[in-house]
């Protein structure tokens, strides 16, 4: 298969100090705990509907969450709990939403696939493949028009690179030089089909960057520091009027696609390799220890994470289901659903 040679990020190395490293670790560890808990709750039949989890993909969300400005915009998919969490949506809100409780971020009206809090820049989780890519361009257009130097970051999967909106959004973003960063989380699979089986190029995003006048950027999405550098470079470029960036971050989902999918369509040794040797969280833990960071510091973070997730679980469990009347609210801006007089 003919493929353009993708280059690694040209982001210059930036200095990441110890406190920043601990922050990156903390965020990833909280994401992991949140996702693992969601899984456990699903298996206990406490989650309504569906879930799409992001264990194994935390480095991407964590790095961007850490790098973004408070008023930047995040657009993510149904596999978006990590992305919402890193922008400040609480564990309780997320678990509550999955469990269909009144305390849930959307009071159960949206569910796992639609978590949103635009007051925190978490501009929504989108469940139709690719639909959010042009919407993110629109938010970036708005920022450009208003002159705010805000940047929109839009996360999507490898499978999403084959749908029409990918193409339309990237062309659009480039011709107007919009402050938007598109991040393809290439976890190698769409639902059950390997991305290579259905894609004309090897690197579904990076090998297509040139079709939009963009540099190909292919990075290790499980190395949180590489991701952080890549994020910082793209954000800065966008903020300074340098236009859009398309990043392909190689990663892997530890679990199946959704719900209880055991992911059996994947070779055992592939799963093993990614889980044991390329886990973004444990790998980073090992790296930090190797750099001389005290185990106790990390253990303290871990313990705090445990406590947070347990408290959030309790809070969510203790919340009642939403009241009936909210079924009929917020179709229109007047708060109601009335279509006639």
């Amino acid at each position: 298969m003919a493929t353009a040679k993708a280059k690694s990020s040209s982001a210059g190395k930036i200095k990441i100090d110890k406190s920043q490293k601990l922050e990156l670790y903390r965020i990833m560890s909280e994401c992991r705990a949140l996702q693992q808990r969601a899984y456990d709750l699903f298996m206990q039949n406490l989650v309504k509907g569906t879930t799409h989890l992001g264990q194994g993909q935390e480095a991407i969300a964590a790095a961007f969450g850490f790098a973004m400005r408070e008023d930047d915009y995040t657009f993510n998919t149904y596999r978006g709990h990590n992305h919402n969490y890193v922008r400040g949506v609480s564990m309780t809100s997320i678990l509550g939403e999955l469990m269909g409780r009144d305390i849930g971020q959307l009071r159960g009206k949206g569910g796992s696939m639609h978590i949103t809090d635009s007051s925190k820049g978490a501009m929504g989780s989108y469940a139709i493949i690719g639909a959010h890519m042009p919407i993110a361009a629109g938010a970036a257009w708005s920022a450009q028009y208003r002159g705010t130097e805000q940047v929109a970051c839009c996360f999507f999967g490898d499978g999403t690179t084959n749908i029409g909106t990918f193409h339309e959004a990237l062309n659009f973003a480039k011709i107007w030089e919009l402050p938007v960063v598109y991040i393809c989380e290439n976890n190698q699979y769409m639902e059950y089909t390997p991305i290579g089986d259905v894609t004309a190029v090897e690197h579904p995003a990076a090998d297509r960057a040139s079709a939009y006048g963009l540099e190909p950027i292919l990075v290790d999405g499980n190395d949180v520091e590489v991701m952080y550098e890549t994020a910082m470079a793209a954000l800065e470029k966008a903020r300074k009027g340098g236009g859009p960036t398309l990043i392909e971050a190689l990663t892997y989902r530890h679990h199946g696609h959704s719900r209880a999918d055991p992911g059996k369509y994947r070779p055992d040794d592939e799963v093993k390799e990614w889980k044991e040797n390329r886990d973004p969280l444990y790998g980073y833990r090992a790296k930090l220890l190797g750099e001389g960071i005290d185990e106790a510091e990390l253990a303290k973070i871990d313990a705090n994470t445990e406590k947070m997730i347990d408290e959030a679980t309790e809070a969510a469990k203790n919340s009642p289901p939403p009241p009936a009347e909210i079924a009929y609210t917020d179709v229109f801006a007047d708060g109601g659903a009335e279509w006639r007089n």
Partner: protein, 324 residues
């Protein structure tokens, strides 16, 4: 008052609102420098410049996605989808994103936006450039649907649509772009959700939309002159919100209802109105509710066939003159 054409009223409303509110921006294919393929937005590019009036690539999903993203982040964008038939290529953005955003997010998302589009037949453009799809839009909860029948309403309703905090699909009947009527030069805003009654009558209520309104008015004249039947013509102007009060009050008075729909028959807006009136005024009806629609076929291109299938003045006269 000056006479304005339906197309000039589009530009007039947009200019009125763009002068008042610089959050209002406009995008679409060939809408800027060229003023739109129907010339409905002539002058806006010159007055407001290329940052507020933007020409786009042929990327309808990007156009509407960008419109939604801009609306969510503080602007009040207006998009043009050149022909309403092209909603097919960006229907997801309308029905799954724009229409559902507020509800799914428990009220978080704001999507104040307008999508204008040339709708309807009569221009001999064939099946892919002539559809009346206001009923597709009506079937989707979360969007407002406007379809004006004259230049006055175009100006007032488009201005109201731009100010509206909800997403509005604004259907311009392309065969009417040249139609003129008196339109005030000053600020004009007509609230969404109020039907007009351009002709009063006591025998039959005709509910008609867009280009079916002038046809119904013409038919009503003939019916009065030749058959002594006094028709009341109600133009809902907006399908969502729907002014059922005006429609119900009219049918309560006349006891008879005919809908005149340009769309192919099945699941047209007239079916919805018939089901409402049939249920709520069951005991008041003196005759079956009759729907005059385009038959359930794609539109043919050639004039003789197109004129045959779209409801005509003759068909309206004929149908009503034969009613019980």
């Amino acid at each position: 008052m000056a006479k304005l054409s339906y197309r000039e009223a589009v530009a007039a409303a947009m200019a009125q609102e763009m002068r008042l509110d610089d959050r209002v921006i406009f995008l679409g294919e060939d809408v800027g420098a060229a003023g739109g393929v129907f010339k409905a937005t002539l002058g806006l590019f010159d007055e407001f410049g290329p940052t507020r009036v933007r020409d786009t690539p042929i990327s309808e999903q990007a156009i509407l996605g960008a419109t939604m993203g801009a609306a969510m982040t503080g602007l009040r964008p207006i998009a043009e989808i050149m022909f309403s038939d092209f909603f097919g290529v960006c229907w997801d953005t309308v029905v799954n994103e724009i229409a559902k955003a507020r509800y799914m997010t428990n009220g978080d998302h704001e999507t104040p936006l307008v999508i204008r589009s040339a709708n309807g037949g009569g221009a001999r453009f064939g099946a892919q450039h002539s559809q009346s799809i206001e009923n597709w839009a009506m079937a989707v909860p979360g969007i407002k649907v406007v379809a004006p029948s004259n230049a006055y309403d175009v100006k007032g309703l488009l201005a109201a649509s731009i100010r509206d905090p909800d997403p509005v699909l604004f259907f311009e009947q392309k065969a009417m772009y040249g139609n003129k009527c008196e339109v005030p030069e000053g600020e004009l805003v007509i609230p969404l959700g109020e039907a007009a009654t351009p002709r009063e009558g006591t025998d039959v209520t005709i509910v008609a939309l867009a280009n079916m309104v002038p046809k119904s008015l013409k038919a009503a004249e003939i019916l009065e002159k030749e058959h002594g039947i006094l028709c009341e013509v109600v133009d809902p102007r907006t399908l969502v919100p729907l002014d059922t009060k005006t429609i119900l009050a009219s049918v309560e008075k006349t006891g008879r209802l005919v809908t005149v729909e340009e769309n192919p028959r099945l699941c047209g807006w007239g079916a919805e109105i018939a089901s409402i009136v049939g249920e709520e005024l069951f005991w008041n009806l003196d005759a079956p509710i009759t729907r005059i629609t385009t038959p359930h076929i794609p539109l043919p291109s050639v004039d003789v066939l197109e004129d045959l299938v779209i409801p005509s003045v003759e068909r309206i006269v004929d149908t009503i003159s034969k009613m019980d």
